[in-house]
Point group: C2
Chain length 288, copies 2
């Protein structure tokens, strides 16, 4: 971690009474900083505000302005290209689930950007995880701090050749990656899972869908799909706010496939994936 | 909070990089201290160990011994009757869900015991909550730090006359209270929800079931039940490690019922509930 601000003060520690620790009672955002600019800031802000509202955590314009001020401090201090993480918790409280009217805790940290240039050029291998996501409309879509399902899914592999894991929900529908949203292309249609019952609705995910509609590039189909639908794809890619777009070149269906050293099911790093990534990068150029 | 130890040191703060904060990546226990003795310590330890194993968090005999040492320090310092909270997180890490081999974080806090003598003598009113628990076998039963469902359920009422909320799962089966396990008696049978898909398997819950079997007091039926099954009960009570047993004297079926000031459905603080609580208190006498 390059730097951290707690409620605007340079600090690395939070109170043990914080509900973020005790209950995962908060929301967070992971944001790419490029040349000192927080990419898609408005979109991240909107999602955080939406998540806080769902959890009944106060999030007013002052909080938004203070986060922006935090970002400015860290970005200037480290002349940054890196990864911001913003956390908003419901603040400190005595024991018990009851919500009390205490000030929220605002945490802003900056970490260095991982080098993923190799992965961007050739694509990634992914594992189909055994861990299933619960179907919980109350918490679906928002980026809250209850992330044990992702931790457990990510714990299924340690092989460095695997970059991401694909997870299904408890009904067997394919949902997302551990840390990313999932897309695939079949013919002239871009498919992506519906995230009404589980998963996190990514900022890059939504922007890509918007750009795709605006440019009339591909038909869009959002729904509940099986693993077989995914495996029948022409091209597959995952998105998040740190690596933008990564093409999936290989899917291992289980850990045996990874450990055997044999190839998983192979996919092409296709032309349409490249076009979609270009659209996104062009959009960023307007921001930076 | 009367006192807090972080990894054995008197402190009130944890690192912002702690995975307990970032992902709710840990387990906890709430334990009643009576005359300096941590009630049901072995049972709490067993559950914490089991929960840690499920989450692949290291929990060895040294960790257990250190927690016991923490408890001793706090109990002596405050000559305590109170409520202990133990938290074990996976410790600090850089950004990302991947588990790294870092030391765990051990948090032990002591709070004063809430005065619930009135509630013990007359029973409690409860609200049937709208919030539903997801069905997630991977996390069911253990006392992990992902507790947003409980926070949301508890946020449904602010009326001081309501002590607890009853929650169902997303299939409509009645599961537990926000902070307690649920039992009811019909005829000669003690009913309690099966917690294989959601809910926390309470230490007092399991002990009561054991004592009930040992004393051949009532038949036991654990399963998936509807709200109607609950409402048909002769007696209802909830259990946890802080208040032991509280009889339910009234169930409000919705918030309108609470706000109208009218009575909900009324239940008797029955003889069998009293006998079960006596069994538990006798068991404690052997410990204290």
């Amino acid at each position: 971690m390059l730097g951290a601000l707690i409620n605007g003060e340079s600090d690395q520690q939070i109170e043990v009474a914080d509900r973020g620790l005790n209950y995962g009672d908060g929301v967070f955002e992971t944001i790419q900083i490029r040349n000192g600019v927080a990419l898609l800031w408005q979109q991240h802000l909107t999602r955080m505000r939406h998540g806080a509202a769902r959890l009944k955590i106060p999030f007013d314009d002052t909080t938004a302005a203070l986060f922006l001020s935090d970002i400015s401090v860290l970005a200037n201090q480290f002349n940054a290209t890196g990864v911001l993480k913003l956390i908003l918790t419901r603040g400190n409280a005595e024991r018990g689930y009851k919500i009390v009217d205490n000030p929220v805790t605002r945490i802003t940290t900056l970490s260095s950007m991982p080098d993923m240039s190799d992965l961007h050029s050739v694509g990634i291998s992914v594992l189909l995880c055994q861990t299933q996501l619960a179907r919980q409309p109350l918490l679906a879509g928002i980026k809250h701090l209850n992330r044990l399902e992702q931790v457990m899914a990510r714990s299924e592999w340690s092989h460095n050749g695997i970059t991401e894991g694909i997870v299904c929900d408890t009904d067997g529908f394919v949902i997302e990656g551990c840390m990313s949203n999932l897309f695939w292309i079949k013919g002239e249609t871009l498919f992506t899972p519906r995230l009404s019952h589980s998963g996190v609705i990514g900022v890059v995910r939504n922007l890509l869908l918007e750009l795709c509609v605006k440019e009339q590039l591909l038909n869009i189909s959002e729904g509940f799909y099986s693993i077989q639908d995914l495996l029948n794809a022409d091209e597959i890619f995952v998105t998040n706010s740190v690596f933008d777009v990564l093409a999936v070149k290989e899917i291992h269906l289980d850990q045996n496939s990874v450990n055997s050293g044999l190839s998983g099911q192979v996919f092409e790093f296709g032309a349409k994936t490249r076009v979609l990534n270009s659209l996104l990068q062009q959009y960023y150029l307007k921001e930076v």
